[in-house]
Symmetry: C2
Subunit: 246 residues, 2 copies
DNA sequence: CGGCATGTTGACCATATTCAATTGAAGTGG
DNA sequence: CCACTTCAATTGAATATGGTCAACATGCCG
């Protein structure tokens, strides 16, 4: 029920993430805070950046879920990233004038747009923050290669299970309760499956006693079961201790 | 026949790439050159870094092909990246102590190992190079999302065609002739298909008059046909003008 | 109450996998 | 130079997995 708008307090989401890895100076904290000013509200399905559109901005996601999608020539859609609060949207398009993908809000969301230029300025002023942004991007890539593996080599059952565990882990790292504000059509477009097959696969996971649907909310009944079934590898999302302290 | 060892000259591969986007000072060139010292020879199938192994090094690939792979619990393999000369191997593992994936030489290769630390030093000394490395990583991610799209939403025929075009484009950007030193089993593991199906799909592409096999060498007969069939989008690999000049 | 979006189900079909046999090409050693 | 081995590629047959289409159910919101 609550991936919705909140964070009226202007507490930074970046600072705690980064301090987890390194110690920041006041100056560095100020630089980060500048990226989290002027939160704007985006209602469900609002577009932040359209595919192909000129864009010189990134977005710091303060609350809610967002995603990046790509539409193929024949109208099919592929979801490329699912963003949770604290992530920056568009890092991979730093060097591009036009967006390769559409970014949009999957739930009501708060996000702070800021010019790409500002990141470059940070690189000029703080090598440590540079490292940290580099790491953020590396972590994003790690998620992406997991997705490639997931889609490339697992069947529907394992794939869906894996995805659910991934989301569960990412939410847990943020101290957020599990939820899945994604319809089955988009889930299909995320996992390379049809929406119909997502429905069947959910049913299968329920039959196996791993999941449960209660009044519209999805519940994980057996996380370990899901992990085992999907062959999930924790390493790729864990922060410390695997991530080097700087 | 010639993705093999050469480059006895110690000409930098990074400098021209980067100068394509920005102008470098002498100091910056020196920093880059330091990454391309001490080329080591890796024979076909040699491992540069094993999966799960401790690693504090990256590799600058001078010649030959390399790749990153991941082995699943059930023994299946997924190829995650294919690296061509001029690329840096391991960028996404900058912050990790242990490698998520295996890196190995697909052909005879020359590569220069250097400590991750050196990249951090570059960040400290040159914001411009920082930008450029950030962009290199962004470009890598762009390739990755194309792969996700490819595997997630295209059928075998389109997928293989798309892959071939991608390789063709990347080789052309390097002024290298087209070749494909990859066996069908690995191709399958790259594209999320079985090796048997790769064989059948090749046959189909030949029947369509798009490809040809001459004494063991693959030839592209109709690049435009492949592009159209696969829905290939040039934007994601082009360097200028899409990539911002810094 | 009605309308629209989302999810579920069944029947049928398409696509790709698996398994096994065969062919082919590239070394290797006699 | 010719078996002989080995590994990759090819082919066919049977099977599995997931897609498509269409009907129907459900839930939400106005």
């Amino acid at each position: 029920m609550d991936s919705t708008v909140k964070a009226p307090d202007n507490r930074s989401l970046l600072i705690p993430q980064f301090e987890n890895i390194s110690t920041l100076s006041d100056r560095e904290m100020t630089l980060l805070q500048a990226l989290e000013q002027d939160a704007r509200h985006y209602p469900v399905n609002a577009t932040l950046t359209a595919e192909g559109e000129f864009s010189d901005r990134l977005f710091m996601l303060k609350s809610g879920w967002a995603c990046a999608t790509r539409i193929l020539a024949d109208g099919q859609r592929q979801v490329l990233d699912i963003f949770l609060p604290g992530q920056i949207l568009g890092l991979r398009e730093m060097g591009m004038r036009h967006s390769l993908t559409e970014f949009y809000a999957m739930t009501d969301a708060l996000a702070c747009p800021f010019p790409k230029q500002r990141l470059t300025e940070i690189f000029e002023q703080s090598p440590k923050l540079t490292d940290l942004f580099f790491l953020a991007m590396a972590r994003e890539q790690s998620m992406l290669i997991e997705r490639v593996t997931n889609i490339g080599r697992r069947n529907a059952l394992e794939r869906l299970a894996h995805f659910i565990v991934e989301i569960k882990v990412r939410l847990t790292l943020r101290n957020m309760p599990f939820e899945l504000p994604i319809n089955q059509s988009m889930l299909g477009d995320t996992l390379g499956l049809s929406s119909v097959h997502i429905s069947r696969t959910f049913k299968q996971l329920k039959t196996l006693g791993l999941l449960d649907h209660q009044n519209g909310n999805l519940h994980i009944l057996d996380l370990e079961g899901l992990i085992e079934l999907s062959g999930f590898d924790r390493a790729y999302l864990d922060t410390s201790p695997e991530w080097t302290r700087l």
